[in-house]
Symmetry: C2
Subunit: 261 residues, 2 copies
């Protein structure tokens, strides 16, 4: 599914205060109405307030799928800032979150000094200094692999912050924006936006290329790493293993992972 | 310049009611402040309420350009739904409107049944039936050339509605949207949106391919032609002749054209 995160207090349903709008809440309301029964919608990446998605994945467990309910009908009932892009029947026991093997996010930054294009300004962070994409890529490489990303996470007690960072790189898109692509088995809370915050000062020359790895090695949250704004962040895609490996993958991640992914 | 038309009552400054937000009004306010003098900003295509621009062109006549005023500084003072993309010194007497030899607009339609992508829904009209782009292109060809487009224009007394239609075609973009590109020496009021309105019923098979030309030949406004919504419409580019032909072009268009372009 895809959604525009601007008018949502994030993915996760929040009963308090009443009326707080969330993606899960809207989906459960609409699907509950179409199915004539309460529905629990569980997603792969529980996005924060303001974060968008073009490739979110979620599952619902229903006794039987009503034959007259398809993506078109659900979309007609949904507000236009959420769209189901495809629906398929999953293997029994499939869990959108625990079966996922990676999440990929993108983050867009406009550093041209003139400011973001007005029609796309909801998707790009204005940055006042020119960014050296190659310098950011050199600084990103030492972060790849499995590490304790605690210095980049909002700490929660008893939750592991060890993650496997599979990809972290920057490129220029065809409009000149600097786009960060980041992929990991999972992310802890605020991790992507803290990674952006450690990369941009390298890109504009205020910090050395070695700094991001130094922050990682220090092992504790560094107050000079800014958690960047949520609105340029998009959950782009979620990866799953082949169907035959799905259930084994779920058992494995359920046993080691906590609630942060 | 580029702007997001959503929060503007069109290009043209409107003194009444006070506080009505227009692109011209915002530019004149900000430039007047930076120049320390009233500034009159004249554009090539006076877009309607809700219409966007990625390639609008405008001129200002100033005794001298302050050396400390550039596009970055103007953009910092402008609200973020307007952006100056470039500024250059024009030949003496240049007029952004009368010197222009063509305007090009694009109009985006989402006909996939699932509805527009949430992050781009402010730029695409949802259309409930699948469109045949080739059929629309065949129907468009007989409209090319110089004609009296009165059947597609909001009539204004004493204003000619003869226009030279240089391009009218549809294609699929890389996200699957149907995109109409239209280019003419100039457009009369609501003409682009009426052209969309005459094409879509051909595209979805409810009208024959000959219909748009029949509407043109009838010479009068046809109530079955809908003026489509403004929000998917973008002024993409304005064309000018080489510098040495600019002033001759202006004299010519001033003498035959009325206020509608």
């Amino acid at each position: 599914m895809a959604y525009d995160g601007r008018d949502f207090a994030g993915w996760a349903y929040q009963p308090h205060p009443p009326g707080l709008r969330t993606v899960q809440g809207e989906l459960q309301r609409v699907l509950g109405h179409l199915f004539g029964a309460d529905v629990d919608v569980q997603c792969a990446g529980r996005t924060d307030a303001g974060v968008h998605a073009t490739g979110q994945v979620a599952h619902v467990d229903v006794p039987a799928w009503p034959s007259d309910v398809d993506a078109r009908r659900i979309n007609r009932a949904l507000p236009d800032d959420i769209r189901i892009t495809a629906i398929e029947r999953a293997p029994a026991g499939f869990d959108a979150r625990f079966a996922a093997i990676w999440r990929r996010y993108v983050y867009r930054v406009c550093d041209d000094g003139l400011g973001p294009a007005p029609l796309l300004r909801h998707l790009a962070l204005p940055w006042p200094r020119a960014l050296d994409v190659e310098a950011m890529n050199r600084a990103a490489t030492p972060l790849l692999g499995e590490h304790d990303f605690a210095p980049f996470c909002k700490q929660r007690e008893f939750a592991t912050t060890v993650r496997g960072l599979q990809r972290l790189d920057w490129h220029r898109d065809d409009t000149g924006l600097a786009v960060m692509t980041v992929q990991a088995d999972a992310f802890c809370h605020s991790m992507v936006r803290s990674l952006v915050g450690v990369m941009l000062p390298v890109g504009d020359g205020r910090k050395p290329e070695a700094w991001p790895r130094q922050v990682l090695d220090a092992g504790v949250r560094d107050s000079s790493v800014t958690t960047m704004p949520a609105y340029p962040l998009v959950l782009a895609e979620v990866g799953y293993p082949p169907a035959e490996d799905l259930l084994a993958r779920q058992r494995e991640t359920r046993s080691v992972r906590t609630r942060e992914s």
